[in-house]
């Protein structure tokens, strides 16, 4: 019990590094399987055994797996993700550009979604079992139950086809300036916001309602406190830990969930890149994007854990 907060956090960080290391091995294994016949796939059926062998030598496929893994790891640590098989461009350059696009999308959605999700959750908890609560709860249930492409296509049908308000295709590459960039990516941002707001709202409501059975909430009632004060002063501070967890995990989701949404709106992000390169068997890119996604996840898991520890007064103020 003599673990202080910094020590717990340090342990958690080490754990995170260890997990990233494990993830990189796992991804390499997956990519190895993918690599099986990459040369014959790239060169076509007609290729002679010699050209296939030459191709494999060029990719280093004739070396043992662990040598290739260590080489790759060594380069990645230095920021070098290799070169694309399809167009011979630097993977890191490609990644950073696409990452920028995806993080733009995620950040824009988060700015709307996080406050809205928490606010709606608190409101639904405050007026629980009212018509308002039922309306919020059923619409968010519909949103979490729908695949992202459904939400995306509905928005597209309404806002791009029936009314020509926003473009159906998010060509951010040619959009110049803040407003025009926001304009072309409006639909993917809305889709992402809708889906994540629903999750955050439901979790916020559930965390608060869970606490309402606590004796200290009854105590607050018996002290004659108003329902709004009970929710905001007494329940919310204790619900922060689970709310933070769900918010941070949804941020992670915003990055990863982009895959489908980016495909729907032809948005040039990391997700679309992953799908393209998986189809093309462009190994270095697949390895790179998978690593980026996993890193985002691991970092966000870490942040979620550390923040919810900080939100817990029992851990913040030791005996």
């Amino acid at each position: 019990m003599n673990n202080t907060l910094p020590i717990i956090i340090l342990k958690r960080l080490t754990m995170g590094l260890f997990i990233l290391f494990g993830v990189s091995i796992l991804i390499t294994v997956g990519v190895e399987a993918l690599a099986g016949d990459v040369c014959s796939a790239v060169l076509g059926q007609a290729a002679s055994p010699e050209t296939v062998a030459a191709c494999q030598a060029q990719l280093g496929l004739n070396q043992p797996v662990y040598v290739r893994y260590l080489d790759w790891l060594f380069n990645v640590v230095q920021g070098d993700f290799g070169t694309s098989l399809a167009n011979k461009r630097e993977v890191s350059e490609l990644l950073s550009k696409r990452m920028g696009n995806t993080f733009y999308l995620a950040t824009a959605a988060a700015i709307f979604a996080v406050p809205l999700g928490i606010f709606l959750g608190v409101v639904a908890a405050l007026y629980r079992n009212s018509a308002l609560d039922h309306a919020i709860s059923s619409s968010t249930l519909a949103a979490i139950s729908s695949p992202e492409f459904f939400v995306g296509y509905i928005l597209m049908a309404i806002f791009a086809v029936s009314n020509n308000w926003f473009p159906a295709i998010s060509d951010v590459e040619s959009a110049a300036g803040f407003w025009s960039r926001l304009y072309v990516s409006a639909l993917p941002i809305m889709t992402l916001t809708l889906v994540t707001v629903a999750h955050m709202m439901r979790m916020t409501r559930a965390s608060i309602v869970n606490l309402l059975a606590s004796p200290y909430i009854e105590m607050a009632k018996l002290k004659g406190m108003k329902p709004s004060r009970i929710i905001i002063k007494h329940a919310l501070p204790n619900a922060w830990a689970p709310i933070i967890q769900v918010v941070v995990l949804n941020l992670g989701y915003m990055v990863v969930g982009c895959v489908v949404i980016e495909v729907v709106f032809v948005y040039p992000g990391l997700g679309a890149l992953t799908v393209e390169s998986v189809m093309l068997r462009d190994l270095p890119i697949v390895q790179g994007t998978a690593m980026v996604f996993a890193t985002v996840y691991v970092v966000l898991f870490l942040v979620a854990d550390i923040l919810s520890m900080l939100a817990n007064p029992r851990l913040r103020y030791r005996k």
């Binding site: 754990m15 260890f18 997990i19 990233l20 494990g22 993830v23 796992l26 991804i27 997956g30 990519v31 399987a33 993918l34 099986g36 249930l141 519909a142 979490i144 139950s145 729908s146 695949p147 992202e148 492409f149 459904f150 296509y153 509905i154 597209m156 049908a157 086809v161 159906a168 999750h199 439901r202 979790m203 559930a206 869970n210 967890q245 769900v246 995990l249 949804n250 992670g252 989701y253 990863v256 895959v259 489908v260 495909v263 729907v264 992953t274 799908v275 998986v278 189809m279 068997r281 697949v286 994007t289 998978a290 996604f293 996993a294 996840y297 691991v298 898991f301």
Partner: protein, 277 residues
């Protein structure tokens, strides 16, 4: 321990709606060949014939009857999701129970392994492994099943740990019962209800994942009907005002809503959380 009638009585209004939706979909899936007006891949009309005309839901991008495809899609997509979820639950629950009852090093090793696996987003992991291993039905079931073993392991372990601390487990250990007895006679009967609800929830996630995968072109391959692939195939129509692709998407949403409504009361506190945690 509960008869079907009492079970029905226990359900509230929204859970009954959920049950109705699930039963309808299951019915369509089971009796697909008898219910569908045409055969699965038969071309019966022009491309994108309008909804509500000669064909109730119109025709798709190559002129197949959408109603027929929806009914067969129910069968294919639900069966695939059901099989994958079952694989995930058999493996995940077994490992989770073992981790919880044995504790110590076994538990530590399993937990750390799962920590690693779960850090690769499910969609990314399935994209990589499916494109490497192909999209034969068995491969699909196994890959998705194994990917979902990870979250199921966590849930099953958590459920078993809650039961593990009960005095009756200690009593069984003091009696000298072996691990197998503790797992299947003491823990399992008490874990069934929460795990059944979790099964419903996980089924939804698997179902959505499969739909996304086939939307991205990595699910069941044509000519098999599949809701996600139908959305993908008809997506181009949206720009022309043909909303055919929204029908299978709506089916996915309706089934997921139905299951959620049905299991809402029993779901572990972690519900509402996303699958990837």
């Amino acid at each position: 321990m509960m008869g079907p009638v009492t079970f029905l009585k226990e359900l509230n209004f929204s859970a009954r709606i959920g049950l109705f939706i699930v039963c309808c979909m299951a019915f369509c899936g089971i009796f697909a060949p008898w219910l569908a007006p045409y055969s699965e891949s038969q071309i019966v009309g022009d491309v994108w014939e309008p909804i509500g005309g000669k064909f109730i839901f119109g025709t798709d991008q190559i002129g197949r009857d959408i109603l027929t495809r929806l009914i067969f899609g129910a069968r294919n997509t639900i069966a695939l999701a059901l099989l994958s979820t079952t694989v995930a639950f058999l493996a995940g629950a077994l490992l989770g129970f073992i981790a919880a009852t044995m504790g110590g090093v076994t538990d530590q090793v399993l937990c750390r392994l799962v920590d690693v696996c779960i850090s690769i987003p499910t969609l990314i992991a399935s994209l990589i492994f499916l494109s490497a291993l192909g999209t034969a039905v068995t491969t699909l079931v196994l890959v998705i099943g194994i990917i979902y073993t990870m979250p199921v392991f966590r849930i099953a372990r958590a459920v078993a740990m809650d039961i593990e601390v009960m005095d009756y487990i200690e009593a069984a250990r003091l009696r000298g019962e072996n691990l197998w007895w503790v797992m299947h006679k003491e823990i399992l009967p008490n874990a069934l209800t929460p795990l059944a609800a979790e099964f419903g929830l996980r089924f939804c996630f698997v179902f959505l994942l499969i739909s996304s995968l086939s939307f991205l072109g990595l699910g069941l391959q044509p000519p098999l009907a599949d809701w996600g692939a139908m959305v993908r195939g008809n997506a181009d129509g949206i720009a022309w005002g043909f909303l055919h692709s929204l029908l299978p998407a709506a089916c996915i949403a309706i089934l997921t809503i139905g299951i959620n409504l049905l299991i809402d009361r029993w779901v572990h506190k972690a519900s509402g959380l996303r699958d990837d945690q």
